[in-house]
Amino acid sequence: MKKILSTLKETKLDNRIRLGIMSILVVNSWVEFKQLKTILDLTDGNLASHIKALEKELYIEVKKEFVGRKPQTTYRVTTKGRTAFEDHLSALEALIRRKDE
């Protein structure tokens, strides 16, 4: 039990928004900032701060480019991020199984 809880914490994904961002990124190749914002229904600042946290963990990589004249920021999950996400999911499942017993 203790190990499960510590995994949940270690992945740094024990936050609804960070977990939400990762859920979207693991099933899409490159996702725009604006899209994340719409799907998660967040403000710019709120989303940006959580993205920064994920970047710091090296869970996601950032690409900034110009599409026409508009700057566009897109994100992609890294291998490390994918592993952390999967670990987190497994821990959540383990927790549920434990509750059922």
């Binding site: 609804r16 859920s23 959540l92 549920i96």
Partner: protein, 215 residues
């Protein structure tokens, strides 16, 4: 707003699942779009029967032979088929876009995002190839193969799109393709099979979708 997964892992998993689905699948497709597409197709087909002066399942007349020297409203059959097809596509597209747009707005979803773009590209490429293929058939005078070919290419386009939207679309795709293949072996029933594929199936699917997802 903030929910701690530590306290409720089941809710966290539900949230993950919903986000994965919402971000990879186009769920604004409205059942009403299907009904409109079906009704418009049947009306377009009715115009064909009027043009050829025949009735569905009429015995003793093969429609594509009759079409060879059919002439009405100042049109030969080739330009008529192109015009009728364009008319069906135009009206059906307007109807589908309207109802899908309406549903997306009600769901608070943005219609013009990367997902919609991907979905449209996956739909339009096989459909465009089919359209050109059919124009070539028409040009070479293979009127008999026209109706089944449209069913097959439309089915393939749907199949290509199905992974980005509701799962049930895949079965609609298989049904359309099967009707098209059947039509290749029973050429004389081309128009009737076309009516089943584009008309009846769309309406039935539209009603099912409407009851299941739009209410």
């Amino acid at each position: 707003m903030v929910m701690d997964p530590k306290q409720n892992p089941a809710d966290a998993l539900l949230q993950i699942r919903s986000l994965m689905e919402r971000s990879t699948r186009f769920l604004s497709l409205s059942g009403l779009s299907g009904i409109v597409a079906g009704v418009v197709s049947l009306m377009g087909l009715a115009i064909v029967y009027v043009f050829l002066e025949m009735l569905p399942f009429e015995q003793g007349v093969i429609y594509y032979i009759k079409a060879l020297d059919a002439h009405r409203w100042g049109l030969d059959s080739k330009p008529f088929f192109v015009l009728d097809a364009l008319l069906i596509i135009l009206v059906a597209t307007i109807g589908c876009t309207y109802f899908t747009y309406r549903k997306a707005r009600r769901q608070g979803q943005n219609l013009f995002d990367a997902l919609t773009k991907r979905l449209l590209i996956n739909f339009l490429v096989p459909l465009g190839v089919g359209g050109i293929f059919c124009l070539a058939l028409l040009d070479q005078g293979y009127l008999n193969l026209l109706a089944p070919s449209t069913l097959i290419f439309y089915g393939l386009a749907l199949l290509n799109t199905s992974k980005f939207t509701f799962d049930e679309i895949r079965y609609l795709a298989y049904l359309e393709i099967s009707l098209g293949l059947l039509g290749l072996f029973f050429l004389r029933y081309g128009l009737e099979l076309w009516g089943v594929g584009f008309g009846v199936l769309h309406i039935v699917y539209g009603i099912i979708f409407y009851n299941k997802y739009d209410k």
